[in-house]
């Protein structure tokens, strides 16, 4: 199935967990994630199963004013 990570289309297996999808994408800590606009705490990423078309935001520290 296809999901979006930071706007990029990514193909993952059915029943892929959020943790597995992030690993496949090459996510590097530190980061936080949201799925379809909702924050998913790190502690819940293993249990979070993704669905076709889910949109993941993978965010990391950057400069800010």
């Amino acid at each position: 199935m296809n999901i979006l990570i930071n706007g990029q289309s990514v193909t993952v297996s059915e029943n892929t967990s959020l943790t597995q999808a992030l690993s496949q994408f090459g996510a590097r800590p530190p980061f936080a994630v949201a799925v379809n606009g909702d924050f998913v705490p790190r502690s819940q990423c293993d249990a979070k199963t993704l669905n076709e078309g889910d949109s993941i935001e993978l965010l990391s520290p950057i400069q800010g004013g």
Binding site: A32, D38, F39, E57, L59, S60, P61, Q63, G64, G65
Partner: protein
């Protein structure tokens, strides 16, 4: 220098500094050090393989400063709340500079959405530092919700125009004497920062004025001195302004006295 409080934590530096727009990471680091700020603002953006985000975060951590994450760029309550939650996990702080833009042209905060997001975040345990306009009633409503710190703008972000409405800022200070007030955004010169402190504001938060200067490190020192001067001036209480001149040198014993 006396201290001020941000949700119970005491700080002596009255300059909060941003970490963006510097010509290089080393200039950013040197400017932050020169400012002697104790609080630095940071943000979150999409992770990109080509961006050295880890290096940036390591540089900030090396400063040992308190970090204040922001929700810059958010245009809805939902976006701002989600980004605040993500910031809390990454930066391990419940502080959030709540930025919720209502107008894309001048980046003016949306006061209605700001109140709604503030209410949600305070209920979720955040210590909210709302970036708001210099509207007294908005500031009062934010205070009513439980904000201990308010951050009205001096002018739109990045304009460098200084305090566009000193009367409004002064009124907010007078009406909310027990809240920590920080002028956030729009400053360009150290004299602007000094003026904010002279009005009784507890601190200023700025980024572009230092990062966009010809020599950011030197400008950082200038702003450090300016907030100190402004604070001392406020504490010292200025002389009353008068419309008529009065000589400072004693007139008693004046030679060549005008007789007519």
């Amino acid at each position: 220098m006396d201290s001020f409080s941000v949700y119970g934590e005491q700080f002596t530096s009255r300059l909060l500094i941003g970490s963006a727009l510097y010509p290089s990471p080393s200039v950013m680091q040197d400017s932050i050090v020169a400012s002697q700020a104790e609080i630095v603002t940071v943000s979150l953006r999409r992770q990109q393989s080509a961006v050295a985000g880890d290096d940036f975060w390591q540089l900030i951590k090396n400063t040992g400063l308190k970090v204040l994450p922001n929700t810059a760029g958010c245009h809805s309550v939902k976006e701002a709340v989600t980004l605040a939650q993500m910031c809390r996990e990454v930066f391990a702080t419940d502080w959030i500079k709540l930025e919720l833009i209502g107008d894309e042209y001048n980046l003016q905060p949306d006061p209605i959405a700001l109140l709604e997001a503030t209410k949600i975040l305070l209920a979720d345990g955040f210590k909210v530092l709302p970036y708001c306009t210099d509207d007294l009633v908005l500031c009062q409503r934010l205070a009513d919700l439980g904000c201990e710190v308010l951050m009205p703008w001096g002018a739109p972000i990045g304009t460098g125009k200084g305090l566009l409405n000193p009367y409004n800022l002064k009124m907010i200070r007078e009406r909310l004497p027990n809240h920590t007030l920080i002028v956030d955004a729009g400053l360009g010169l150290p004299s602007h920062a000094c003026q904010a402190l002279e009005l009784g504001y507890d601190a200023v938060l700025l980024n572009s004025a230092i990062a966009g200067a010809g020599c950011p490190v030197t400008m950082s020192k200038a702003f450090k001195s300016a907030v100190e001067a402004g604070r001392y001036s406020y504490v010292a209480k200025a002389m009353p302004e008068k419309d008529v001149a009065s000589p400072s040198t004693p007139t008693l014993g004046m030679p060549f006295w005008h007789q007519e």
